[in-house]
Symmetry: C3
Subunit: 152 residues, 3 copies
């Protein structure tokens, strides 16, 4: 089950690491600012998001409609998405396609400065580089759940 | 309003990304250790900090005096600053000047191990490289506040 | 006491920064998944961990036995380790040996989605690159404790 650690099928360069981190920094600034159209623009036209509950949004139009209909967790709350432990795997056949996995922690700060937390998630993305610009083609969000302790 | 994502005016190299992250790692170790002079040394002589409440400190001397006068949030508390989603933009005309934006989350752990959180902030820095060494020339700290949900 | 900030004895390249971050991303996925053998495989055979309480585990075998005996904090809890502010210092004499220091925050999410936090820690690692693959040779975990405020 365990693959060698510290070796990916293709080593991630520093430039690629910085490019991907910067992409997410920009994408999350948009979602945290409730710039729904701007956020949708960071996806391909046919971009797809599968939420932790199983709800699936396909394409920018559906994504924007869904976010407009359901922004309740943002009501009078400053939301920030924090990422951790990115693993970036360029497609062996196509350097413009990347699989990226990361942890997310979401803070919700109210007007009094009190911070609340959503459950943590692990996310699997496929990014594509189109005309030199990264876009998210698919995103699958997994809610982190307890694992069984190993058999003694 | 939306700029293209995944493209900065000038692409951030992996080396620059590592340099800036390392700079902040060292700067935050100093502030979290209450090494006030060491922290002030990471700013230019005329370095300026504008706090979220609007309070402005200009120059290392004022910065040190201000931090000596007001370290209450550190009393018997281990403070740690966490950064997220750096966006690094080298000045188009001067590669030794960088605009950097990032999220911060501040944890306060008491002697019993209980963790409390300050409200989240977004910070805008200007860094300059002097004799091969990064320094903060200005810092503007914004407290994160709720944004209005988009018009349905 | 203060060393120059923004200059390490040896500058960290973007490639090295990405390599180390990726190593930790893979190592933490394993510990968070309770893949104890897989986690132990990210250490050298004689790898050593000194826990914050002073408990020391030497060698993979002892590490696995210790983790099997004491996984209580994982019981019915999804644990995630978050890292911050890595400082990477390649050994001046041996590019395959790295000293790495970082902050850690540990979240524990229960089945209802409620997030709890362990106290924060600062960790000092020695990593070695063996056959092109990073491994942890030693890890010393320090619980973050309050520092005395500077003398007025």
């Amino acid at each position: 089950m365990s693959q060698p650690v510290g070796t990916l099928r293709q080593q991630v360069t520093g430039d690629l690491y910085a490019e991907v981190q910067t992409f997410y920094a920009q994408q999350m600034r948009r979602v945290d600012a409730l710039d729904i159209e701007g956020f949708a623009d960071t996806f391909t036209d046919d971009g797809e998001v599968v939420h932790a509950g199983g709800n699936r949004q396909s394409g920018r139009t559906e994504m924007v409609a869904g976010m407009r209909a359901n922004p309740p967790r943002y009501r009078d709350i400053a939301v920030r998405h924090w990422f951790g432990h990115l693993i970036i795997e360029p497609d062996a056949m196509d350097g413009n396609t990347l699989r990226v996995s990361y942890y997310t922690l979401v803070t919700q700060t109210d007007r009094d400065g009190k911070v609340a937390f959503q459950p943590t998630f692990t996310v699997d993305d496929v990014l594509v580089r189109v005309d030199g610009r990264l876009l998210t083609r698919s995103r699958v969000i997994h809610r982190d759940t307890p694992v069984a302790p190993p058999a003694g």
